[in-house]
């Protein structure tokens, strides 16, 4: 019994450390203007969200080494979505907020090579090793998706699809929220699901 009590004490210790600290995440609510940011891409060129006013923008948080992200990249699901929607004029920004030394963090050159190898079709790959933009948006997992309309308003945030798993076989079975949100928004139809709980590995701040 004593070892259980010890476990509780440690547990409560963790509880107070984690929870009495500051809230780490931004609370960006749907229906509100998405927050402005500027980040460099893998060639060093800066990109600001405001550069893309007038277009739909997808923010996709990624980490190539995370099994949940790999489900979508190994299956080519992510690359297909990127290609399909950028061809329709959507701006697709892939963001990496892994801190230096943590899983998923790579140099701009390495990231370029890895993206190339994967046939990534994003408009730009943005590097956020300080985690500023990740924390601004409240990106908790990889993947984590935010979709912004041409007026700069956030219209979707959360999971990429409705089957939280690492199984490639689930990609085809799942309802994809990027697709459902953009298809509805572009047709002027009601977006049925605007907020979901994202799933994935934790962002390695």
């Amino acid at each position: 019994m004593r070892q259980h009590l010890f476990g509780f004490v440690v547990f409560v210790g963790i509880l107070s450390t984690v929870l009495i600290g500051q809230t780490v995440y931004g609370d960006v609510a749907n229906g509100e203007p998405a927050l402005e940011f500027t980040l460099p891409d893998i060639s060093g060129a800066p990109h600001s969200l405001s550069d893309y006013k007038g277009s739909y923008v997808v923010l996709e948080w990624f980490n190539y080494d995370c099994p949940f992200v790999r489900k979508h990249y190994d299956s080519a699901n992510m690359q297909k979505l990127q290609e399909e929607y950028t061809q329709k004029g959507v701006v697709w920004l892939s963001l990496n907020s892994s801190a230096p030394g943590k899983q998923g963090n790579y140099s701009a050159e390495e990231m370029g090579r890895l993206s190339s190898e994967r046939g990534v079709h994003a408009t730009a790959i943005l590097l956020d090793p300080a985690g500023t933009v990740g924390k601004l948006y409240g990106a908790q997992t990889t993947p984590h998706i935010f979709i912004i309309d041409p007026n700069g308003v956030l219209i979707y945030q959360g999971a990429i699809d409705d089957v939280p798993s690492t199984d490639i076989a689930d990609v085809a079975k799942a309802k994809n929220y990027v697709r459902s949100t953009l298809d509805a928004a572009m047709a002027g139809a009601q977006i049925e699901v605007a907020v979901t709980k994202s799933y994935g590995c934790s962002v390695k701040y």
Binding site: H4, C66, Q140, T141, K197, C201, S202
Partner: protein, 285 residues
């Protein structure tokens, strides 16, 4: 499945007319977790249910997740292969711990846990023919990074016309494992009110409940609350209030199910600490 064990069992059966012993495949090590399927009993009886446990023994520093994993991660998924006449109930989960994953809060386990499952045995199951129970377990093991794990486990149990005997080699383990399961609430009048951005739990103790200094509500649903937010416990005239911040998703549901944890225990320390009770409540104004 270890075919040698099956063969031996069937050999015993052929020779002695029954397998007095259960046989099982060896535990499987995958993704830093040793997974095993253990039975509380050495044989089973038609018309009587019995308990199994899925044991997950995690290497130091690695953790797995509760049914609601919190802000990231994935709970274990169990897929059973059962012979005719056997069926399983829902998994009983030990109460989770808060895991600090560098600024995210997740719910899960370290060390060794048992996930309990009750197996029902139909009256019609014939005596004398051993039954094999198969389990495919998939989970996510994380330390700084995550690795998916998988194990194919199985167990063969003889079917006998006598009350199943407890397996003494796992008796203590089952006892300790059961102590980790949340209990039914016996000493508190608990309600939950909708307060816009918060769920407000009203906790009124009966005389045999102890005093609380802190409490935490672990919801079953992944999209109900802000897992990282502080849950403030306040003393009131009649008992306590626990304020729990809702999540961004805020699904408009009325069933609030989960586990209430308190280090002080829900029945004081008199009869042994009960740190976790189940909460199955309806949200009211």
């Amino acid at each position: 499945m270890n075919s040698k064990n099956i063969f031996l069992c069937l050999l015993f059966f052929a020779v002695s007319g029954g397998c007095a012993e259960k046989v099982w495949a060896a535990p499987v090590l995958s993704a830093h977790v040793e997974a095993d399927l253990i039975s509380e009993v050495t044989s089973i009886q038609p018309g009587h249910s019995f308990w199994l446990a899925v044991r997950l023994k995690m290497e130091e520093g690695w953790h797995t997740y509760w049914k609601n994993p919190g802000d990231s991660g994935l709970p274990p998924k169990l897929t059973w292969t059962l012979p005719e006449g056997l069926s399983v109930g829902n998994v009983l989960w030990p109460f989770p711990r808060l895991l600090d994953e560098a600024q995210l809060v997740t719910y899960g386990f370290e060390g060794t846990v048992l996930l309990f499952v009750e197996v029902n045995v139909d009256e019609s199951v014939p005596v004398g023919i051993p039954k094999e129970i198969g389990l495919n377990a998939k989970w996510l093991s994380c330390r700084e990074m995550c690795v998916p794990g998988m194990a194919d486990l199985s167990l063969v149990l003889s079917v006998e016309n006598q009350v199943p005997a407890k397996d003494v080699s796992v008796e203590q383990e089952f006892l300790e494992g059961r102590a980790q399961l949340p209990r039914e609430n016996a000493s508190w009048d608990i309600k939950v009110r909708d307060r816009g951005k918060q769920l407000l739990f009203l906790l009124i103790p009966s005389s045999d409940a102890g005093a609380l200094k802190s409490a935490y509500f672990f919801p079953e649903r992944n999209d109900l609350i802000d897992h990282a937010a502080n849950q403030e416990l306040k003393k009131t005239k009649t008992g306590y209030e626990l304020a729990v911040k809702k999540s961004q998703v805020n699904p408009g549901i009325k069933e609030i199910n989960g586990v209430l944890f308190s280090e002080e225990g829900w029945q004081g320390r008199k009869e042994g600490l009960i740190p976790a009770i189940t909460a199955n409540l309806i949200l009211t104004k």
